[in-house]
Structures are given as structure tokens and as C-alpha cells.
Symmetry: D2
């Protein structure tokens, strides 16, 4: 079957999460540089089609500063993305559960 608008919206949400994660994982980050990285991630992914809002929160407490900085991974951040596709809205979220970053669709509008 062809995908429905709701399914297309979920596909688009997935693309944004995969893109965000694999574009920025590995970026050198420290407590003093995390703010600028949050803004850049949000604004870059919001450029993508059907993406109405991206919110990235990097927890400075999670950043290992033994060497002054660390490399960004999913464990350091919470991300929420809003998609609108053909009148349907999807909210999806990435957060760490049991040490592993999980991406999930939170809700789909009727």
C-alpha cells in the first residue's frame, strides 16, 4: 500500500532524528560550548522540509571534562522535533533510557 499522510509524517520525523544524530555525533563539546552547539543543531535541522521545530538540550552535567571536552553522543542530549506534513503533526523525542538514547514518536495528530 501507499503510505498515508500520517505515515509520511512519521517517516519525515525519523529522517530528522537520524540526520541530527549522525551529523553531530562526535562533535567536540564542553560545558562552555554546548549552548552554541544546541542553537546550531536546532537551526540546521529546522531547515529541512516539513520540520516546524527542533529543541536540543545538552546536559552539561553529562559531559566528561577530564580532558576539557568530550565528543557529543546521544547520552548527552534530549531532543524534541515537531513535523507537519499535509496537515498532520508528529511530535518525536530522543532521550536517554538506561544509558541508551531512544528515539520515539510521542504523538500523531488525527
Amino acid at each position: 500500500m501507499e503510505p498515508s499522510p500520517r505515515e509520511e509524517a512519521c517517516f519525515e520525523a525519523g529522517i530528522k532524528f537520524g540526520a541530527l544524530y549522525h551529523q553531530f555525533a562526535g562533535t567536540p563539546v564542553s560545558p562552555s560550548s554546548s549552548d552554541s552547539l544546541e542553537r546550531a543543531i536546532e537551526q540546521s535541522i529546522e531547515n529541512q522540509p516539513h520540520c516546524t521545530s527542533v529543541s536540543v538540550d545538552i546536559d552539561p552535567e553529562e559531559l566528561d571534562t577530564t580532558y576539557g571536552y568530550t565528543e557529543l553522543t546521544g547520552e548527552h542530549m534530549t531532543v524534541e522535533i515537531e513535523i507537519e506534513y499535509d496537515g498532520r503533526n508528529v511530535t518525536a523525542r530522543m532521550a536517554t533510557e538506561e544509558g541508551y538514547p531512544l528515539m520515539a514518536v510521542e504523538s500523531v495528530s488525527e
Copy 2:
């Protein structure tokens, strides 16, 4: 509303495309190294949850060899990904249309 299994499957398909694209875009590639890159992309993304098959085809004709190699972008490749989630199957595809790489869900099983 909560997402249906079909919508979850589409979300997972999107994650794989976003991941594949943004992990490997920018990789130095030439006609002689494109085979090993195709295999590595396929095998790396197949590691991800719910991903049953990834097929990557880099077109050597599309690679600019003015400087011996170029950096991989979506215009160089065609990708097909199969997802299975809770008994539902999704086939999604990326191909270049009018010079721009488009990702789309091709079919979702009932």
C-alpha cells in the same frame, strides 16, 4: 494519538535514511573505492534495529574525478531500505530527481 505499528515502521525507516545520509555524506570516494564504501554503508546501517536490508548503489559515472576523488553526496547514490516493525514491512528509497536526492516511502504492508 499514539503511533500505529505502521507509523512506527515508517519512523524507523526515516531514521535509517537520515543516519545513512548524514553519517556518510562527505566521505572521499572514487570509482575504485566505491565498492568498499557501498558494502560498509549497507552493513553498518543493517546493524540498526528493525532494519532487515539495505542496498546502496554508487554510480561511478556520477563521481567527479577531476581531482581523483570527490566527496559523497546523495546525488551519487541510490539506496533502498527494508524495515520490519511488529509484523509490518516498509520499503523506502532514495534516488536523485532533478538533481536533488529525494527520500520516499515506496510501500507499507497492511
Copy 3:
């Protein structure tokens, strides 16, 4: 032979350029999001050892906006990096020459 401090400084400068380029190439960017990306790139790479300063200039005129945004490549930006290693200073620069981004050491202190 073992590397001299000047050679180590040049090695460090090269690491920063390779890291900057391959971390951020492919990032979705538009004229309205280029400022936050410049700041994030500068601050992330400045975290790395021996790196005293990074300056990134993305030229909005170079960004194709046919689809509203494009993916960052070397052709869009000019970068200058300052390294200090064991009392030696290196200035290195990336700029586009004949359509190809060239990275070069500009000067090494005695």
C-alpha cells in the same frame, strides 16, 4: 627522525582542519542559520588540544537556496585556525581556489 615541535604544531593544525571539515560537511545550512553554525564550529574545534583560535566565515552568497537550504561544503566557507604547540605558533587557512577548497599552512613561528 622524531618530529620537531614545529612539525608537531603542523600536525595538530592538520588534525583540526580535517576534523572541522568532516564533522560539519553535510550540515543543512541556509542564510538565516549560517551565523549559529559558524559560532558552533568555532567553539567546538577550539575545544581541541593546542587550538588557540578558530575563525569560520560562511558566505551566504554561496549558499544555493533553490530548496531553501543546502548542505555545507568547503566551497561555502573560509576558515582560519591558530595552533600553539610547545611555544611554536602555526596559522593555517582553508579557502576556495578554482572551486576546490584548499587547506594550507600559512606561517610557522621560529
Copy 4:
């Protein structure tokens, strides 16, 4: 001062390490997919200018398989790169020391 050929060679070696690391860090990898990833990394970086040889060894013992795969980081691999620039040869190496991946120039020819 302008850089010497030896210093240029060290700069080029650094570029390759930074590129290799930040292009491929974050790639999903498992013991069964590590061979294809090693080959792809080697062949892609060997495309770059002045790079005569790249050897990548991913240690399957280092890969966490709790979730079937993990994301590649410097701790999983040992890398050796050979550069030739204007008749000078540089050998550089990345290996894990005390849990942190260190990149270093091993030798520079006279």
C-alpha cells in the same frame, strides 16, 4: 616563516587523521560488520592527496554488543597512515592510551 616540506607533510598527515576520525566516528558497527568498515575507511582516506597508505584495525573485543552493535569511536580502533609530500615521508598513528585515542607523528624522513 613558510612551512618546510617536512612541516607540510606533517600538516597533511594531521588532515587525514582528523578527516578519518570525524567522518567515521558514530558509524554503527558490530563484530560482523567491522571488516567492511575497515576496508571502506582505508580506501576512502587513501583517495586524499599525498596519502600513500592507511591501515585501520577495529578490535571486535572492544565493541559493546549489548544492543547488537555500537557506534564507532577512537577507542575501538588503531590506525596507521603514511604520507609522502615532496619526497618526505611521515608515519603517523592513532591508538588508545589510558582510554583516550591519541594521534601522534611516529617518524619523519630526513
